[in-house]
Amino acid sequence: MRGFLYYWKNKGRRRTMLTAYLFIAPVLIYAIAFNFGPMFASLYLSFTRYNMLTPPQFIGLANYVRVLTDDPVFWTSLKNTAQYALEVLPLNIAISLGLALLVNRAVRGIAFFRAVYYLPVVTSIIAVSMIWLWLYDYNIGLINLILEPFRIGPIDWLGDPRLALHSLVIMRVWKGVGWNMVIYLAGLQGIPLYLYEAAEIDGASPWRKFLSITWPSLRPVTIYILIMGTISTFQTFGEIYAMTGGGPLDSTTTVGFLIYQRAFQYYSMGEASTVAFILFGIIFTLSVVNMKFFQGTE
């Protein structure tokens, strides 16, 4: 990188530099005020006791100690979030790749099918929650009504503590697969055709072709999906708030929901910041691990 003086000493370069700073100034000021600033403020608050009425009181690592050693709900929420991610991500990857392979062909009406599979993506999580609240309803939900003639149920999809989280997983997978289908579709269309032609000459079976060509070629796409998916599933909030309120018996309390609850229902701003930072650390670590692990296994 060239030194500051390289730009400053030349009249033309100085002019360009100052104009450029002017162009990026709004974004920069905004990022400091609403991204970096809040992050550091949050870090500070995580070491305080703060209820918004009296000034924050510095208490060192007390929040961290309490949350990590004496807060069963935090551990429950962490377990729920991890389980949610561990169910959503593999299902999502398998199904979205399957869909991408299915719609990656030039047949009549394929645009229509792609649009139908994509529709849940453009529907907001709250709208999706509203629809599924009814589908999952114990008495009048469509799913139980459909299952009734088969003598299954009625199933208490959202009211049974052993089942509620899995019900949310099904909904989330339904909502999310269209998005990853599109990403996989772009990845599939980037694989050179001659690889398949060569495999064909060697008499490879379709499954062999998938294992030896398609799946390895899509590795970067899968890593991307895994990282983005981890980040988003670990922040799950909307459907929890709208559908279960974290219940029954905290069985669907996610870390994202817990942070909201602590901050805006109990006004424990310091403790909420502590949980938020622990979440941040987990997301960051998982992203790095995903990247390292999957790039390392070439």
């Binding site: 060239r2 974004v27 599979y117 529907t123 909307g238 909420a272 979440l279």
Partner: protein, 291 residues
Amino acid sequence: MSYKRHKAFQQVVIYTVLIAVSVVMGAPFLWMVLSSLKPNHELFAYPPVWIPSTLTFEHYINAFRYTDFSRYFLNSFIVTGVTVISNLFFCSLAGYAFARMDFYGKNVIFMALLGTMMIPIHVRLVPLFISVRRFPLAGGNNLFGQGGTGLIDTHLGLMLPHLINIFGVFLMRQFFQSIPQELTDAAKIDGAGEFGTYWRIFLPLSKPALATLSIFVFSGSWDDFLWPLVVTSSRYMRTVQLGLQIFQSQFTVNWGSLMAATLVVTLPVITIFIFGQKYFVQGIATTGLKG
């Protein structure tokens, strides 16, 4: 002959699978649309009635008559509209500087900005809320942000965390980098300054990228739930997503109207996706022409 028959058989299998998957993927959405048009007695009929015997719009009328949904729509359109315009301008302006101008610290600043995309909303939530509440000289606050409610329960407060999305800067920079250098040189020879080049040459060429950014920002702002939940306190400042959730929690039994409201809330995003599709195709065509 047997090859032809094999081909035909394959086609049948493919369409069967395509349709079967469509049924699963489309059913919840279809159920919402059909239910919003069903007369009340068919809503909870057993066995379930899919196709309404008569179409009725009473659920739509009720959803708007007995709630503040028209007000929620107004709020959402104001917030989303300003957010989209703000992002289009500021992200493309900064994107231009990062793509086409040379200045000290460019890469470091750019990487730092990209780093902010990693910060989860939950980490920023509490300080954002506090700074909106302590916003100086707003909502009865003094210069030091004391005494009033700041920007809580205002449109500006609703917009604030969305006005600039760093992803947009990244997107615009990527797109601008693909525009040939000759165009910049030509504009410079014609005496255009940096802003003139950006405004008159780069922006008109960037419709596909701007459309993509608009869709991204529009749906992000329109669909947001957590921030409006935190930052509004009166019913008149609610956005549509918040309105849906509250409608559901207050009138649980009124599924027909809830489905009608849900569909209406979803339509703007679907519309903008369909509308944007055209630009996506155009974008591909433009890049094709370029080479």
